[in-house]
Symmetry: C2
Subunit: 397 residues, 2 copies
């Protein structure tokens, strides 16, 4: 056994999160794609079967009340809240991330316009996952704003008294770079604008601190580090003191103050409920709720500590096993700038990733030349990291 392999064993033996792996249904392969689709928590199949057979099949319509279906969006929001540093009552679950970006950005412009009609420019992360940019373009078009794409580093200089809202990603989906949420949020606020953060690649992987850093609005998906299942519903955070001013472009009946009053005039519900839209997608939502049970007894600081140790160790193994010059890390070495993934630029990346997968090491390929490896500390081991780097090294030798 190589030195790195035996060190991996030792690190696994000392890992305070090691016991969490048993709460997932996994096989012998190395799964480093939990930043795209989290692995299946062991509690989910049984819970979902109960939701389907008993709650839907037997109680049927009564489950909206008796099984707590109606209140699931805010109840599950409160379950996600501690993972992103939010007090209860500020998050609702539902719809896709794209739809929530639209709600958040339009509402941000409306909040800001309330303060000053001269603000008509939305800044958007030019390196963002594309959907955020597309939706931001639509939000700008529909609110009479101009959209200006800038890199996160350029944001401070781009802010002005024309800026209405700024949409940023906490972690870049391609490079795994972690952006400085506290200082960027402070800069946005100093310019009098609203800060909207996309947490898709950070929630469940590292501390976010929404309340602590005064973030205004945030969105995120739940199928990556939160393991909610394919296409599980996203969430929307609206800071408590902004909720009365949250004016949704999608005021569906679920956000009405009295949803079963069936009133022709819309009157928004108080609090985070205002972010709801239509009938919540119960099967996916309750699968997510069950998946969140794996966070019992885990703090996000424990996760962050292991995440950095895992990615450090993986980079060390890559340096050892992969021939010089065959890959180049796009992910920052500095911990303050690193999310929970390692992205390696590599020639013929798509072919290389397909071969890795065939050999039991799953990451993913991102156009045009990037191998992405996501490290989900609740179930990825140091032994996984060593094996992934070793197989990659063999393929590239």
């Amino acid at each position: 056994m190589s030195e790195l392999a035996s060190r991996a064993r030792k690190l696994d033996a000392e890992d305070e999160l090691a016991h969490k792996r048993a709460e997932f249904l996994l096989d012998g392969d190395v799964y480093l794609d939990g930043n795209s689709l989290g692995a299946l928590p062991a509690s989910v199949p049984g819970r979902l079967d109960d939701v389907v057979r008993r709650e839907w099949g037997e109680l049927r319509i009564r489950s909206w009340g008796e099984s707590g279906w109606w209140t699931a969006p805010e109840r599950i929001g409160d379950r996600i809240a501690p993972l992103v540093g939010a007090a209860p009552g500020q998050i609702v679950v539902g719809d896709s991330t794209s739809v929530n970006v639209f709600k958040a950005l339009v509402a941000a412009v409306r909040m800001s316009a309330g303060a000053s009609a001269e603000r008509d420019e939305i800044l958007v992360d030019a390196t963002t996952f594309p959907t955020d940019g597309y939706i931001a373009e639509s939000a700008a078009r529909m609110t009479g704003c101009r959209l200006r794409p800038v890199t996160p580093a350029e944001v401070p200089a781009a802010l002005s008294d024309r800026t209405t809202a700024v949409l940023l990603n906490h972690v870049d989906y391609r490079t795994g770079r972690l952006h400085d949420l506290p200082s960027l949020t402070a800069a946005v606020h100093a310019a009098g604008a609203i800060a909207v953060w996309d947490l898709c690649h950070s929630a469940g992987a590292l501390p976010v601190g929404l309340d602590e850093h005064g973030v205004d609005l945030a969105v995120g998906c739940t199928y990556k580090y939160l393991n909610g299942g394919p296409g599980s519903p996203a969430y929307l955070y609206v800071r408590r003191d902004l909720q009365d001013r949250f004016d949704s472009p999608l005021p569906g009946w679920n956000s009405h103050a009295e949803p079963f009053g069936m009133r022709p005039a819309y009157e928004p519900a108080p609090g985070a409920l205002r972010g709801r839209v239509g009938t919540p997608d119960i099967l996916s939502m309750l699968a997510l709720e069950s998946a969140l049970e794996v966070w019992e007894g885990v703090t996000i600081d424990m996760v962050r500590t292991k995440s950095l140790a895992l990615t450090d160790f993986f980079l060390e193994c890559v340096a050892e096993y992969v021939p010089e010059g065959r890959v180049e890390s796009l992910t920052p070495l500095r911990h303050e700038e690193r999310g929970s993934q390692v992205s390696l630029r590599c020639e013929d990346a798509e072919t290389v990733m397909n071969r890795l997968i065939a050999q039991g090491v799953t990451g993913d390929f991102r156009h045009p030349d990037t191998l992405r490896f996501g490290f989900t500390p609740l179930y990825v081991t140091y032994t996984d990291a060593e094996r992934a780097a070793r197989v990659l090294g063999e393929l590239l030798s």
Copy 2:
């Protein structure tokens, strides 16, 4: 046994859809709330367990391709298409009804504005399920239009060369009244406007004929007569020749011509795919796909024939069993004006419905004074109808 009870037995024995009831998981109760939440098809629990354990748990990320997850929205749309009289390639499944109403109405205004900038009035069904009205108000506000609520009967007179789009319900959720889709659509077109139909209470219960009647855009939910499960995803129909002009207010990455190109500039996909937004909600969507298997060998005309016979028979039983003057039907007697439910106005309706439910007859209460009974021909029997009326009669005697 009463004459009506024995007639019910005979009607059940002759029912060409009677064998379909075995394809649902039902108990001995009478379930007349399938117009709110359809009963559980027997195929769903096993299929969903396979989706969770094998497709998510074992294949994980590979299932987006290998298990056909990525193409589910359009594949399932094509499965719904024959039930609403649409040729393939015009329906995508995803998001809630409310979100789809927003997409459809904004896109309708944009199509219409392309024809004439003078059109700035949206007509909306004043008796609609409230969410359609709330969302229509938002769509009007965000497109610079004026919203004018009118009853469906007032639509022809209200149409003018200012009308851009008209949002109508095919069946009224409270009264069960069926509106005349062919003639209203023709009137909207004669005025040069776009017709948007909400099919929540008609799809799966009666013929719609979207293609035949030239409907422009339509939306509907799948958890009522389509039995998709609680909060299962809704769908959007865009008539083929309008698809190139469908300009979505929610242009998420799933509607991009090359979604995995991760391009910063948005370029819409061709066809119905343009109505997609974010990552599809796979668990709920595949439960719906499985639920749609019950339509094998069933035509919507068979369903309509039984639906009318069931509601006729129920009304006859009510007239026989319920003391004179205790209830009044809000549902039209004429077949051409009747959906697949019977709504009875009744004093203390909420209390009466709770007692009915306690006695094994489930319908629902709608504020302020309405008992609603939905008749889903795939699993409701004539015996159910007779028993429901009999228990109601006993309660009101």
